[in-house]
């Protein structure tokens, strides 16, 4: 029941905050958002799941309640977390609270609506990462888009409408492609499933019970559905060439929203890829190993190159997110414990690190009112703590050992290099690894230009250290990143436990 | 007895004449008349099949249709009046927008 409680409490909190006066909304939202944090940490402490929730494992805090009957299918309220879901739940709750706190300084109109939407989004995100029934999952999945649309479209920058509409339409079309793919699979399964329960569907698919549909053979159906779902999720991840909504959305979104967008929303895409494509159709995935690995490599290198060309700090971090998510795709297609587990770990690590980066860019923006690399110089002189944390975060992004990013990336590299899905995987891995050089290039360049050198910024106001409530979220994130980097086993053990069953493909193609 | 095909052909002809009127004229009153023709084409069918099946349902229905046609004319005339008031004409092609 704790998951329902968590989601319901977050929804309730969002309603309370929506109705609260603007003056107290920020504080109230932060205080209320501690509830899911405590809840998720409690879940972590009492976590006892085994195996993967979709492949016959035993998820923790599971509830199944029949809900509706629809066209011969039973819809259940089915939630639960396994080793893949829990880290993402913890990430979501922690990052939401920190994002809310970091918004205190920058959001100064319609606060209650802003914080209400943030909490509303958090509730839906929790739903996405815990739902084990397709219908429940899909409702949450789509519902996440709405608050995000308004958060960008109302509180965003000058081109917010363009960015918000682009984000919404792009991801919604993608959802459609995914939905069609999934429904085709569902119909192809025919009578072998009688509910939209994801474990049941995954089990049936992995057992090779997919039949033909409207004269389309099972093999073709599998391939088409895989591609449709992959495209659908690839937009969300985002993967080159479906990434162009991301920089626009990031640049226009206020920093706390960017934190949530990069930190958690992108993970929805990879999470769904893992849960649907790579869990339900493993053998089809391995047949597409080369194109997928190629897409991953291109995302890494191309995303990094694009980041190198940017002048806006937020654009830099946005494109480097594209690059980092490429690693995740590479890890997923590797089909080794370290590859898939590393990809999951990298989701957490990247969530924290990109959150930290966007947040510190936001802190500097609040003080300087610019994000352009060329406008700033010598910020470390005036904002030493923020600059220090920015440097630390940037090194985390570059994959500095003993920070979470390195752990994720190394696991992925190791897993992908050892992968047996295709003979060329070591080459793909080596190519993708070159991303670590380019990422160092653009982050170092950006740091040199903005943080170092003599202080120079034409302003008619004082530029000084950021207030405590802006630096505390940064410090909390940094400490979390380092703790996870020193002791990745905090999550990596349970992740591996959940990932391992996926590597035995069953008989999908039989 | 006259085979039902001929009734149908007649009804189709009447219907198409009404339709022709609607398609080629823009006067609202002519519209209304043409619509009446089309409605009566349907009535012919109803009555024809009533005879065909030996059942009065069709004819009863025809009566109702006539009554409704009266109602339709009432409303139609009202609409034409409004049209005339707003556009100073009963030309239906003038009313193009939702607002005017």
């Amino acid at each position: 029941m704790i998951i329902e409680g968590l989601i319901a409490a977050t929804f309730a909190a969002s309603m309370v905050v929506l109705l609260a006066p603007d003056r107290v909304a920020g504080r109230l939202a932060a205080a209320l958002s501690l509830l899911p944090v405590v809840g998720s940490l409690y879940m972590w402490s009492r976590f006892d799941a085994t195996g993967n929730a979709l492949t016959g494992g035993d998820p923790a805090f599971e509830t199944i309640v029949p809900w509706l009957e629809l066209g011969g299918y039973t819809l259940n309220w089915h939630v639960g977390v396994d080793g893949i879901g829990l880290p993402l739940v913890v990430l979501t709750t922690i990052l939401s609270t920190l994002a809310i706190v970091s918004a205190w300084a920058s959001i100064d109109d319609r606060q209650s609506q802003f914080y209400g939407l943030m909490l509303f989004m958090e509730a839906n995100l929790l739903g996405v990462f815990t739902a084990l029934d397709f219908f429940v999952w899909f409702v949450f999945w789509e519902a996440v888009l709405l608050p995000m649309y308004f958060l960008i479209g109302v509180w965003g920058g000058p081109r917010r409408k363009y960015a918000a509409i682009k984000f919404f339409v792009y991801t919604n079309i993608a959802s459609l492609a995914m939905f069609i793919g999934f429904i085709a699979l569902l119909f192809g399964l025919g009578d072998s499933v009688s509910s939209l329960d994801m474990p049941a569907i995954a089990g049936a698919l992995r057992a090779g019970e997919l039949g033909s549909l409207y004269g389309i053979s099972a093999g073709t159906l599998r391939a088409v559905a895989f591609v449709a779902m992959f495209l659908g999720f690839a937009v969300k991840v985002p993967v080159v060439p479906f990434h162009t909504w991301l920089p626009d959305a990031h640049v226009e979104a206020p920093s706390p929203v960017s934190v949530m967008l990069a930190g958690v929303l992108l993970k929805m895409g990879t999470y769904a890829l893992l849960r649907f494509n790579f869990t339900m159709l493993p053998e089809t995935a391995t047949r597409f190993a080369v194109p997928i690995a190629l897409v991953a490599v291109v995302s890494v290198v191309y995303g990094a190159l694009l980041a190198l060309a940017q002048q806006d700090l937020k654009r830099i971090v946005a494109y480097s997110s594209v690059s980092s998510m490429g690693y995740v795709i590479l890890g997923l297609i590797a089909y080794t414990t370290y590859g898939v587990g590393g990809a999951t770990f990298q989701m957490i690590a990247h969530g924290l690190i990109s959150g930290l980066m966007f947040m510190s860019v936001g802190v500097m923006y609040n003080t300087t009112h610019t994000r352009m690399v060329g406008d700033m110089s010598g910020m470390a002189d005036r904002m030493p703590v923020t600059a220090g944390i920015f440097v630390a975060g940037a090194f985390g992004y570059m994959g500095l050992p003993l920070m979470a990013g390195f752990a994720g990336e190394f696991f992925i590299f190791k897993g992908a290099f050892e992968s047996t899905v295709h003979a060329a995987m070591p080459l793909f891995t080596a190519a993708a690894m070159f991303g670590i050089v380019i990422v160092a290039g653009y982050l170092l360049l950006a740091m040199q230009r903005t943080l170092f050198g003599s202080f120079r910024l034409e302003t008619d106001y004082e530029v000084g250290p950021a207030p405590l409530h802006e630096t505390v979220p940064l410090a909390v994130l940094l400490v979390t990143i380092i703790v996870l980097g020193v002791a990745p086993d905090l999550f990596f053990g349970m992740i591996q436990d959940a990932v391992d069953p996926l590597l035995d493909f069953g008989g999908e193609l039989s | 007895m006259v085979p039902v095909e001929w009734y149908l052909l007649l009804a189709a002809a009447v219907f198409c004449i009404g339709l022709f009127g609607i398609l080629t004229r823009s006067n609202a009153l002519l519209f209304l008349m043409s619509v009446e023709l089309m409605l009566n084409a349907a009535n012919i069918n109803l009555v024809a099949f009533s005879a065909y099946w030996g059942n009065v349902t069709g004819q009863t229905f025809g009566l109702f249709t006539m009554a409704l046609a009266a109602a339709e004319v009432a409303v139609g005339i009202g609409i034409i009046l409004v049209l005339y008031r707003n556009f100073d004409d009963v030309d239906v092609t003038l009313a193009k927008g939702m607002r005017r």
């Binding site: 162009t244 190159l305 696991f411 003979a423 | -």
Partner: protein
């Protein structure tokens, strides 16, 4: 029994604590946290000495202490941290902690007394730097080594860029990190490859990867070689890891970061060059020498890169005006010798040179630091001169270091450099032209080394003062002189541990302590004896019979020639810049063979435009397609909207046509018209 090995983790943790302390509470500590750093490094030194003594007694330690990531399920690897304490590590621990301690003490004079700001940050950086390097030294597997290797890179970034308010240091720091990162990329691929091949990355023990590799070559073990022959694959792995070594140890072509790194504070340069960052690369090759010894190709490349770098860097050192620049190029050159030694099968020789170089290079940098303090932070040698009489302690210790660097008997550098060259010669003569080429280049470099070293000494200390500052130098205190004296004595005497030519000449006296020290040990797979066998069995190295003192005499003669030339040209009251006589060569050397230029060209004229092109492509084509799709639908919507004229008649026509069409379709399908 609780022994030195139980306290060994503290060697790494003590400087780390100093880092944490300086970072968090440095503002409130006296001297910006310097005393914490000194205490920590002194503690590390004492513990290192204890470990050294314990290892001397024939013990070794190879334990896993911390599981970083436990593998779950079948056939997965568990990634761990552990300590590996063998003679090599014990020696390196001693070097690193000693140099770190002296650098900390020296910093009191160089930084505190000069009234620098940001001292907590400085001492935090030094503490982390020391901790990372010590962690790297004691690493028991390649992954842990890589991780600390990277942390060393981070610390170099932080310390080189210490004076971040100026333009130069941040740029130099960026370059240092980026260039070494480029090397580390290959290293990381190598690490991942080693894991994929052997399933482990441990340096020592039963299941160590060099051991498995040896067994695989002997046909006794199965490893994944990705379709290559094991020999080829091991060579590839070795060369990949060598990428990291070349980056960190500033070997050609990734040496360009090191001269720029002189932008950092001088004590940091001393630390980087003598004991930490640059030494890390060479130490890594020595650490996994059992793996390199299996591949003659990899060894040949190591030797060639080393020999070439030795000569290449030495020539550039000849024309520099800045005292720290000269030292920077000498560092590159000297690490070239070490690589040559390793590549030539002279494991002991290279280790020996690592040891002696650590002391004399730390000495030279600290001495240069003392001179820079005295000169009020003017580093141009042409503004100096005649400092001999005004700062005698600095002069004599600096001289000791210079003699060692130039390789003059009996100073430390002579013995070690000579042995490196000797190893290259004997293995080269036995049928390896690659090694002979390395030897030849190394030999020529000896002359240049002697020349530029003494050019520096004469310009700085001899002759008449050329500026007002040089006439009235700033005094230095005990905290500068103390470390200089300690290192000066060591630079003069540390060669005693391994005087091979003398040993050969006298027929066994004095003993070759270092050879004996490295030849045996509890971990037999990590001894020079074992490496010798590997070199012989797998790399096919044999030795020609050349007397070591003959080779030594040749190199000594060349070094003396260099010194003499410098003496003639520069040891006069008012020396001239003879560089003009070099003509075009001078320009070439002065511009460092245009190495920077082409790398900057790659970065600025190739990668950046490529990135901009990618950006244009992205904005124009990829995003253009996205926006195009939306425009198409908007346009189409706009066009289709025109059907909705609002005219009733038009709707009626459309309705009629639609109905007709539908009827026709149904009629045709339903057979009404048949």
């Amino acid at each position: 029994m609780v022994g030195a090995f139980d306290y060994a983790p503290a060697i790494v943790l003590l400087p780390f604590l100093s880092f944490v302390l300086s970072l968090t509470a440095g503002k409130y500590l006296p001297k910006g946290g310097a005393f914490g750093g000194i205490a920590a490094t002194a503690g590390s030194l004492i513990l290192s000495a204890w470990v050294f003594l314990t290892v001397s007694a024939g013990n070794a330690y190879n334990e896993t202490l911390y599981t970083w990531a436990a593998g779950v399920g079948e056939g997965t690897t568990t990634l761990t941290f552990g300590l590996l304490l063998d003679p090599l590590a014990a020696m390196m621990l001693l070097i690193v902690s000693l140099v770190a301690l002296l650098v900390h003490v020296f910093s009191l004079g160089y930084m505190n007394d000069e009234g620098e700001t940001g001292l907590p940050r400085y001492y935090a950086g030094l503490g982390l730097f020391t901790a990372s390097m010590l962690g790297f030294v004691v690493a028991d597997n390649l992954l842990m080594a890589f991780m600390f290797f990277e942390l060393v890179g981070l610390c170099s970034y932080l310390l080189i860029g210490f004076w971040f308010r100026e333009e130069g240091p941040p740029s130099a720091a960026k370059k240092a990190f980026l260039v070494t990162r480029f090397g580390d990329y290959f290293f990381l691929v190598g690490v991942v490859g080693v894991f994929a091949t052997f399933g482990t990355a441990k340096f020592a023990g039963e299941a160590a990867f060099p051991v498995i590799a040896e067994e695989a070559l002997a046909g006794g073990a199965e490893v994944t070689t990705f379709g290559f022959a094991p020999e080829t694959w091991f060579t590839i792995l070795g060369l990949l890891i060598l990428g990291g070594v070349i980056g960190k140890s500033a070997q050609f072509p990734l040496h360009t970061w090191l001269p720029d790194a002189m932008e950092g504070p001088t004590p940091v340069s001393a630390l980087i060059h003598a004991a930490t960052m640059v030494a890390a690369g060479v130490y890594l090759v020595a650490r996994m020498y059992g793996f390199y010894a299996l591949s003659p190709t990899a060894l040949g490349i190591v030797a060639l890169v080393g020999g070439f770098t030795a000569l290449f860097a030495a020539t550039m050192g000849v024309v520099k005006r800045d005292i720290k620049q000269v030292l920077a190029y000498s560092t590159i050159s000297q690490y070239g010798y070490m690589m040559l030694g390793l590549g030539a099968g002279g494991y002991v020789a290279a280790t020996f040179h690592l040891l002696t170089h650590a002391f004399f290079k730390a000495l030279l940098f600290l001495g240069a630091g003392a001179v820079i303090i005295a000169m009020h932070h003017d580093e141009d040698m042409w503004n100096m001169g005649g400092l001999k009489n005004r700062m005698p302690v600095t002069y004599y210790t600096f001289l000791s270091g210079s003699l060692a660097l130039a390789g003059i008997v009996p100073f430390a550098g002579f013995w070690s450099k000579d042995e490196v060259l000797y190893e290259a010669l004997i293995h080269g003569l036995a049928g390896s032209p690659l090694l002979l080429a390395g030897y030849a280049m190394g030999l020529v470099a000896v002359f240049f080394t002697g020349f530029y070293t003494f050019r520096m000494v004469f310009l700085t200390f001899h002759g008449e003062p050329r500026t007002e500052t040089a006439r009235n130098p700033h005094g230095v205190r005990w905290n500068v002189k103390g470390p200089l004296v300690v290192l000066g004595v060591l630079a003069a005497t540390v060669g005693v541990v391994n005087m091979v030519p003398l040993h050969d000449l006298t027929g066994g006296f004095p003993p070759e302590y270092l050879h004996d020290w490295l030849a045996h040990g509890e971990l037999s797979a990590l001894t020079s004896e074992h490496y010798g066998e590997l070199l012989h069995d797998y790399a096919g190295y044999t030795s020609a019979d050349v007397a070591s003192y003959v080779a030594g005499a040749v190199s000594l003669a060349l070094a003396l020639a260099g010194v003499l030339t410098a003496h003639v040209l520069y040891n006069v009251a008012d020396p001239d810049e003879h560089t003009a006589k070099l003509g075009a060569v001078k320009t070439l050397w002065y511009n460092n063979y245009y190495q920077d230029e082409y790398q900057i060209w790659i970065a600025e004229s190739f990668v950046l435009p490529l990135a901009r092109l990618a950006d244009k492509f992205d904005q124009g084509i990829v995003d253009g397609v996205v926006n195009g799709v939306s425009s198409v639908s908007l346009f189409a919507g706009n066009r289709i909207r025109r059907i909705q004229t609002g005219v009733v008649s038009n709707y009626a026509v459309l309705l009629t046509l639609g109905l007709t069409a539908l009827l026709v379709v149904f009629g045709v399908l339903g057979g009404w018209f048949v």
